[in-house]
Symmetry: C2
Subunit: 199 residues, 2 copies
């Protein structure tokens, strides 16, 4: 049986992402090992395809890490649809990105709260949930979240679909007490699936 080892186990090198200004890995090509706040400052108007070679990254619709969020795990993304998932608004744009340093697949822990400001029923999780309702969560919303370790991605719809909201233990002190803190694209408390982010 084939023995697998992750990128970080095999190599001592750090995070690495390659972006292209055309679809299907064509056009101008740039390689990064750390955050890029505005791809236009590197002479590229937009990212149209990309490869994550090591680590896990967060991509953003706008510069300075704003707008729609896209979790980018290792692999090949030939066009915008390949990282966007299904979204309520379709703007083919990714302008900034950064590594998700706290991602720790095995040690991730988070507490979900029924209501905003960490009140109501609570539930501690350390696993992936393609359907929160299938596991007994009462409705299609989460009021607030406390990330105790690792990094997570929450989704509007079951099966890891719809808007992506990246939650990290080392940002906001791991506290997300209202959907307004999930990102500028969040317009409601709706979360129906969530999972740990894999390093």
């Amino acid at each position: 049986m084939y023995k697998l080892r992750s990128c970080k186990q095999m190599h001592s090198h750090s995070d690495r992402i390659t972006i292209y200004d055309q679809e299907n890995f064509q056009g101008k090509r740039l390689e990064f090992t750390s955050a890029c706040q505005n791809i236009m400052e590197c002479g590229v108007n937009n990212i149209c395809s990309l490869k994550v070679e090591c680590g896990v990254w967060a991509g953003y619709e706008h510069s300075s890490f704003c707008g729609q969020q896209f979790v980018l795990e290792r692999g090949e993304y030939p066009h915008w649809e390949s990282w966007s998932g299904s979204n309520a608004y379709h703007i083919e744009r990714m302008m900034s990105f950064r590594p998700i340093c706290s991602a720790n697949h095995k040690e991730s822990k988070m507490v979900l709260f029924e209501k905003e400001n960490f009140i109501g029923r609570q539930w501690e999780i350390n696993d992936d949930y393609p359907s929160l309702q299938a596991m007994g969560w009462g409705n299609n919303e989460i009021g607030s979240m406390q990330v105790q370790s690792g990094a997570w991605v929450c989704y509007q719809f079951p099966g890891y679909r719809g808007y992506q909201y990246i939650m990290e233990c080392d940002r906001h002190g791991g506290e997300y007490k209202h959907y307004r803190e999930w990102g500028s694209h969040a317009q409601s408390f709706q979360v129906q699936s969530l999972r740990r982010i894999q390093q």
Copy 2:
């Protein structure tokens, strides 16, 4: 801490799905507890929103369980984008669906093969993989698969994005020896993430 129980633990009732012929759970409403081969025979032209109340279902673009596949776990799906994910062709149509009887989240097991016809390197898995490459799989393709227990969903792109291919232990004898057996929408061996289907 809130104690969660799944739908199947709480109730003895069987699979249940409610479909609507308008978006946002509007219009004509029909409830099913077993497969529907052609929604038009029930007097509905198309499914525009749905709620999975119990069990896990496979939805299909065309009648008779053909065309693009959509895994439907428990939760609310207000429009086509909420179940389709990001797809290479955007046809807002779901005409048939059926329960995925073999889904067994805890007991799922599958063997991946590097090449078609169950040859080349192999890897036995019983967990979810948002990035196969992050776990050491050498490229962005899987040649063939043997599902030994449970049901799985494979995706073109990392992070559970792109085309969905549903693989079950009790169909095809669990054997998927070429991408032509994954479904009529499969056009290549490309698979970059996969996961167990949750009951």
